[in-house]
């Protein structure tokens, strides 16, 4: 029977190996002192909504899913109000409606910049007031370009040429190029520090399923942010989601919070 061998295999990991005793498995004791054998599974679920958003930093670029109310992560946005994070940039199709969700976050003075396609819905009074008061800056991006810029960020594309906005006010300060006889403008990736997403069901690996047209910006935002947090109605057992129907695989998801769960 061989003795344990002790070696450092990463600067912050202490590894103890006793091959004979554990059948070639490792007991990993990380620098926080937590033994990994106490969490032998991937589990991205978070029980507490405050914990789900606690580490979002001031100045973050926050991608927020939804088209109007459909797919909007209302609870996650409202949970952000209670954190210390401020000076946020919100990327979303709209700029909030009524006085809940994104509108509530804006009303709480947490948002300094909005990047969106359509901030002038009838109900977006809070945003429009803050905009008129000069408290929020606005970047208007065509809806398809907004989506494609986030996809580029998620897909490792450095930038792309699109005909959308060529020859218009929104394209006038951009690099232009005629390709196959059509004028295009160059667009850069739009990456988020955080994505807040609303979906229907998840499993502990973070696989995500949406409902009908509430899917909208969820899939692209999940892939475009460094940290992706998803609000769902339900977490089901691993293997219960149809593998053909998982729209956002867990590789794009970091945390899953069950709304009212």
């Amino acid at each position: 029977m061989s003795p344990p061998i002790l070696f450092i295999n990463r600067i912050d990991w202490l590894v103890v190996v006793d091959f004979a005793a554990i059948g070639y498995d490792l007991y990993l004791i990380d620098h926080l002192g937590l033994a990994s054998y106490s969490t032998p599974m991937i589990d991205k679920s978070v029980n507490n909504i405050s914990a789900a958003v606690a580490d979002i930093q001031s100045g973050s670029v926050v991608l927020s899913s939804g088209f109007g109310d459909a797919g909007a992560p209302v609870d996650l946005l409202e949970a952000l109000i209670e954190t210390d994070a401020e000076n946020l940039t919100i990327v979303s199709n709209n700029a909030g409606e009524g006085n809940y969700g994104l509108a509530a976050l804006i009303a709480a003075g947490k948002v300094s910049r909005v990047i969106c396609s359509y901030p002038i819905s009838a109900g977006s009074v809070v945003f429009q007031d803050c905009y008129q008061a000069g408290e929020i800056t606005l970047e208007v991006v065509p809806q398809g370009t907004l989506s494609e810029r986030m996809r580029a960020a998620g897909a490792g594309i450095g930038g792309f040429f699109t005909p959308t906005s060529a020859g218009t006010e929104l394209g006038k300060s951009k690099e232009c190029r005629k390709i196959s006889g059509v004028e295009h403008v160059f667009e850069y990736p739009l990456k988020g520090d955080i994505a807040l997403i609303r979906a229907t069901r998840a499993d502990r690996w973070g696989n995500i399923v949406y409902d009908k047209s509430a899917r909208n910006f969820g899939p692209v935002m999940a892939m475009a942010a460094t940290l992706t947090i998803v609000q769902v109605d339900e977490i089901v057992d691993l293997g219960k989601l149809n593998p053909e129907l998982i729209i956002t695989p867990g590789i794009f998801v970091d945390r899953v919070f069950v709304h009212n769960g």
Binding site: Q143, G144, V220
Partner: protein, 229 residues
């Protein structure tokens, strides 16, 4: 026909009806928010047209019965809709692949102005007191195979909207195929407006007076007299 002929200028439902006649069986069609949505009412049930909504729906059906609304099933105007058998859901990204990639056969949009070279102005006025908002208009303008514009021939104050050159900010350059107004159906060619149909009771001279750009009358022009829908 006489009831129709006595009326000067079409109603919006009549313009919507006229546009519906222009849409082929099997077309994939995106209808802009507002008046263009009316076009769906005049596509007959024995002609299958697949309606696309930019928020991720193909095969969009009519509004649900009261009480049957689903907040997760809405159209681009954020109104509740239904899904027809054969319909599908997809992401915004894929939706704009369809739009930008030239897969939508027809898109019907409203407009502030259209120029004789096909320039479209429908996203911003000259009023800078409120924030701008573009939505999917610029993507639709460059992407759909055929852009139909549905609008009144003149503004409420009688100013022309069919222009030699747009004075409002552009949505897209050289994108409009055909303009359907209360007074006429007008095709946009290389650099001129060609009148294909004139509403019954209107003369070409009257139409020209209400138009900023010079109009050409098609050899095959027709009188347009839709039913009293």
């Amino acid at each position: 026909m006489t009831a129709v002929l006595e009326k000067i200028g079409l109603t919006r439902p009549q313009v919507a009806w006229r546009i519906a006649q222009e849409i082929d069986e099997g077309s994939y069609v995106n209808l802009g928010i507002g008046s263009p949505e009316m076009v769906a009412n005049y596509v007959s049930t024995n002609r299958e047209i697949v309606f696309h909504s930019e928020n991720g729906i193909l095969g969009m059906g009519e509004a649900p019965a009261p009480g049957q609304e689903d907040g997760n099933l809405i159209n681009a105007g954020k109104k509740p809709v239904t899904l027809l058998p054969g319909g599908s859901y997809f992401s915004h990204t894929d939706s704009f692949v369809m739009i930008r990639g030239g897969h939508i056969d027809v898109c019907v949009l409203g407009a502030y102005q259209v120029a004789k070279n096909g320039d479209l102005a429908n996203w911003a006025t000259l009023d800078t007191s409120k924030p701008p908002g573009v939505g999917g208009a610029m993507d639709l303008a460059v992407g759909a195979k055929r852009i139909f514009v549905m609008m009144d021939h003149c503004t409420k104050t009688g100013k022309p909207k069919l222009m030699n050159k747009c004075t409002y900010p552009l949505t897209g350059s050289r994108v409009v195929r055909t303009v359907f107004t209360d007074l006429a159906v007008i095709d946009v060619t290389e650099d001129s407006f060609v009148v294909r149909e004139i509403t019954a009771g209107i003369s070409f001279e009257e139409l020209q007076e209400k138009t900023d750009a010079v109009l050409t009358l098609s050899e095959n022009w027709q009188t347009l007299a839709p039913p009293d829908v």
